[in-house]
């Protein structure tokens, strides 16, 4: 089934709260080799002017992907993960994410563009505090190959 272009423009209701934990940030920092002490040491983070340990700049993808699951996990959307390639990613941080944050994400399907046998699907995750203060935006573009194996390349 091809990607359903009727999903373009959708906005999903806010997902459940994501509670940012120190040990999760340490685990992620270890995984990407982020050695800076502000990711692990609360004293170092406070000395740098932050309330608690900081997430590495791409950690927001963990939160965004949970929100994206509402869309890509919907069979009606027609996004077959065996034919998906990650094309583009962009993070905009209104402020760094830190341990103790309780974050709520609203997912938007911004566009679905057909191009040379590919469907370019762009989603936008708006991450905010529970009271609605914007924290980060994650824009992700997936390239989905058509069902015909000759169509993609």
């Amino acid at each position: 089934m091809p990607v359903n272009t009727a999903y373009a423009g959708r906005e999903y209701p806010p997902g459940p709260v994501y509670e940012v934990a120190r040990e999760k940030l340490r685990e992620f920092a270890d995984a990407v080799g982020a050695d800076h002490p502000v990711h692990r040491d609360p004293d170092a983070a406070r000395a740098a002017g932050y309330p608690d340990v900081l997430a590495p700049p791409t950690f927001a993808v963990v939160i965004a992907q949970r929100a994206e699951e509402q869309y890509v996990g919907d069979p009606g959307a027609g996004v077959d993960f065996s034919r998906v390639v990650h094309a583009e990613e962009r993070f905009t941080h209104h402020r760094p994410i830190h341990a103790g944050d309780r974050l709520v994400t609203v997912l938007h399907v911004d566009s679905i563009v057909e191009r040379a046998g590919l469907s370019m699907v762009t989603t936008r995750a708006e991450i905010a505090t529970e009271d609605g203060t914007a924290v980060a935006r994650v824009v992700s573009t997936l390239a989905v190959r058509g069902a015909d194996p000759e169509a993609g390349a």
């Binding site: 800076h36 740098a48 791409t58 760094p96």
Partner: protein, 143 residues
């Protein structure tokens, strides 16, 4: 960390911020899968990767993107100074077993914006001689 943080007024377009080499093996990909929650088997299972037409297991694009930005955060003296970070995924990084692949990261100042108090760092990220991330740019807030 070495030296003091860079200052906006002392930077010019073309200044080199540094270089870094990231080594990636299958264990590193499994670690990233667990930490990120991205368990797509093309990043750890050769059979599945080949089955979907890839030459073999490839690194998560988000692993490469996440590993590359460390250079910028360390240079700035504060990873929290990265206010915007984007890339296109140009080519996958093939990760052999046994063995490992190397990802080479280098950064130059691409723009200085005194109005907003930010600089744009342009990252060149290559593996095996080919660029793997394209238009890889980070905007950093500096004093």
């Amino acid at each position: 960390m070495t030296g003091r943080a860079p200052r906006l007024a002392e930077l010019a377009v073309g200044d080199v911020i540094g270089t870094r080499t990231v080594e990636v093996d299958r264990a590193r990909l499994v670690r990233y899968a667990g930490a990120s929650g991205d368990f797509n088997p093309i990043h750890w299972n050769e059979r599945v990767a080949v089955g979907v037409g890839l030459p073999g297991v490839i690194a998560h694009g988000m692993f490469t993107m996440g590993a590359a930005i460390g250079l910028v955060g360390d240079w700035a003296g504060d990873p929290g100074a990265v206010v915007d970070y984007q890339t296109r995924f140009a080519r996958p990084v093939l990760v052999p077993d046994p063995g490992s692949s190397l990802i080479e990261v280098s950064g130059v100042v691409g723009a200085v914006d005194p109005e907003s108090g930010t600089v744009r760092v342009d990252l060149a990220v290559t593996s095996d001689g080919s660029r793997v991330l394209a238009k890889c740019q980070a905007v950093v807030r500096l004093a």
